[in-house]
């Protein structure tokens, strides 16, 4: 741990303020709570909200994992993990099972989370209705009155135009049957994992200055129509490296002749499977 920083970078008053917002958010599942977002030593859009939430919930004995689109080894994940290793001196890991706090950008790990874990989402846009209703005064009123017909108009338009609901990520959910919530830009594939998850789910939007949360074991339902039920979309192939068929896959273009490789987006999940002896059709035993 580097000298000269307060534990986990933020000062104690700021952490208190964020914890108060977190408590309120947990008490009202899915409700967006405003908070005094601070300037962080990384640009907006890189996880300033998530990093502040992580800093507020982190203790000296926690083990931190940071993922970016499922990967532990991309710039955003590496730099945030190093940031907390430096300013809080906490142990870091890439193994989902070993972590107590997981900060994520746009994925939920494939391995089911436990009730002693906290997952922190980085959220660019906390307002699920922002593309449909530009006025925040009006969207707040809609949340207050639970008036969500407009969101269904968007789903209706999708089905009318494309024959199906065509939202691939940031698929809107109803939390605890009350608040419409943006799950952050996770793929729709991950939405079912949020439902009755044993782990505490916290969401931080730094630029938009909002925090919201889903307490453990809370019902999270993806919006749909009775005759067009929600479907999790995934590539129709097994992972090329580990052969997994139940994991979310990334498509990697490998040459200019139409060659492509589908691989697990969760790098830790893929590595663990390969260590256990699973080999996909493009993998090396």
């Amino acid at each position: 741990m580097t000298e000269g920083y307060n534990f986990a970078y933020l000062d104690e008053q700021t952490k208190r303020m964020i914890r108060r917002a977190l408590l309120k958010a947990v008490a009202i599942p899915g409700h967006q709570v405003p908070f005094g977002s601070r300037e962080m030593p990384l640009p907006y859009g890189w996880g300033t909200g998530g990093i502040q939430v992580t800093a507020s919930v982190l203790g000296p004995n926690d083990v931190l994992k940071v993922i970016d689109q499922g990967a532990d080894d991309t710039t955003n994940a590496v730099s945030i993990r190093r940031f907390f290793a430096k300013t809080a001196g906490v142990e870091t890991t890439t193994h989902t099972a070993d972590a107590t706090v997981i900060q994520t950008r746009h994925r939920i790990p494939e391995k089911a989370l436990r009730d002693d874990q906290i997952i922190v989402y980085q959220v660019p846009q906390p307002e699920p209705l922002f593309r449909l209703e530009s006025s925040r005064v009006e969207t707040r009123r809609m949340h207050g009155l639970s008036d969500y017909g407009l969101m269904h108009v968007k789903l209706y338009e999708d089905v009318a135009r494309f024959g199906q609901i065509s939202i691939a990520y940031d698929y809107p959910v109803m939390v605890n049957g009350r608040y419409l919530m943006s799950p952050s830009p996770i793929p729709a594939f991950d939405n079912p994992k949020m439902d009755r998850m044993p782990a505490l789910q916290l969401f931080g939007a730094g630029r938009e200055k909002r925090i919201y949360a889903i307490p453990p074991w809370t019902e999270v339902r993806s919006l749909d129509f009775d005759d067009h039920p929600f479907r999790a979309i995934n590539a129709p192939e097994p992972c090329g490296l580990c052969g997994a068929t139940d994991a979310y896959l990334d498509e990697v273009v490998t040459d200019d002749k139409g060659g492509r490789l589908f691989v697990c987006s969760d790098t830790d999940h893929c590595a663990e499977r390969r260590d256990a002896g699973h080999v996909g059709k493009d993998g090396v035993p």
């Binding site: 017909g149 108009v153 209706y156 749909d224 129509f225």
Partner: protein, 255 residues
């Protein structure tokens, strides 16, 4: 029992008296026209009756289907909002105020159904197409955006969107304003048919005496925020008593 009843409404905008001592009664299935010149308080009265503007004095009472009476301006806002999207409808002069211009015609009609809890796509779509047909919009236009519609079609689309939840009471603010005469005639005919068939009560604001004569059962004439004369439409228009009503009626060109 009255469906909507207002007593002693008063509203001032600074030095301007918008409404003074206005009483209105509306019965089930009845169309009431409010006529008067520009600035006489017609639209303000409509906004006060529908709970969109709070008056300085007086009360508006609405009797719900169960027979319970509600003071519209004392209702909690969620209840008023529910009322506005189920039991009531509002038809604006400019359909663009009410319609979502970047949402297809079917989505526009379906929105009120979905706001009320409809969650079956095929049923919503069937009902939307049914209503488009009822307002004489071709069913093949169901997926078209309203911006490709003509002015008369937009107004008819707005009416379909408003009536899809079978409201008991519709507020109309100059529904035929800004349309050319032949389109007006078709629209009036359509509104008259629908209102009669569905037994909807309506408060209709218009400055056009001909529109009032065609649609309304009763008429209220407004001048400077007061109702100066009220009665059955034919009675008021054929035998006007108040000097201002006489002026209004005589100023219409005789066909």
């Amino acid at each position: 029992m009255t469906l909507l009843s207002a007593r002693g409404l008063g509203l001032r905008f600074g030095a301007i008296t918008a409404l003074a001592d206005v009483d209105v009664d509306l019965w089930q299935g009845e169309v009431l026209a409010i006529v008067g010149e520009s600035g006489s308080g017609k639209t303000t009265l409509l906004n006060v009756l529908s709970g969109r503007v709070t008056p300085d004095a007086g009360h508006v009472f609405y009797t719900d289907p169960d027979g319970a009476e509600h003071d519209v301006h004392a209702m909690p806002s969620p209840a008023l909002r529910t009322l506005h999207r189920s039991d009531w409808g509002f038809v604006h002069q400019d359909p663009r105020q009410n319609l979502r211009m970047n949402v297809s015609a079917g989505g526009n009609v379906g929105e009120r159904l979905m706001a009320r809890g409809a969650r079956h796509y095929a049923n919503i779509r069937t009902e939307a197409i049914d209503w488009l047909t009822q307002v004489e919009i071709d069913a093949s236009r169901v997926d078209d955006l309203p911006r490709t519609f003509s002015g008369g079609m937009l107004q008819r689309l707005q009416i379909a969107r408003t009536l899809v939840t079978h409201p008991r009471l519709v507020f109309m603010d100059e529904p035929t304003g800004g349309l050319d005469v032949s389109v007006q005639a078709r629209l009036l005919d359509l509104i008259r048919t629908l209102v009669a068939r569905l037994g909807i009560a309506a408060v209709l604001v218009t400055h056009d005496i001909a529109v009032a004569r065609l649609l309304a059962h009763r008429i209220a004439v407004m001048q400077r925020g007061r109702i100066v004369e009220t009665g059955l439409t034919d009675q008021v228009l054929d035998d006007p008593q108040h000097a201002y009503t006489q002026l209004l009626v005589s100023s219409v060109l005789q066909a």
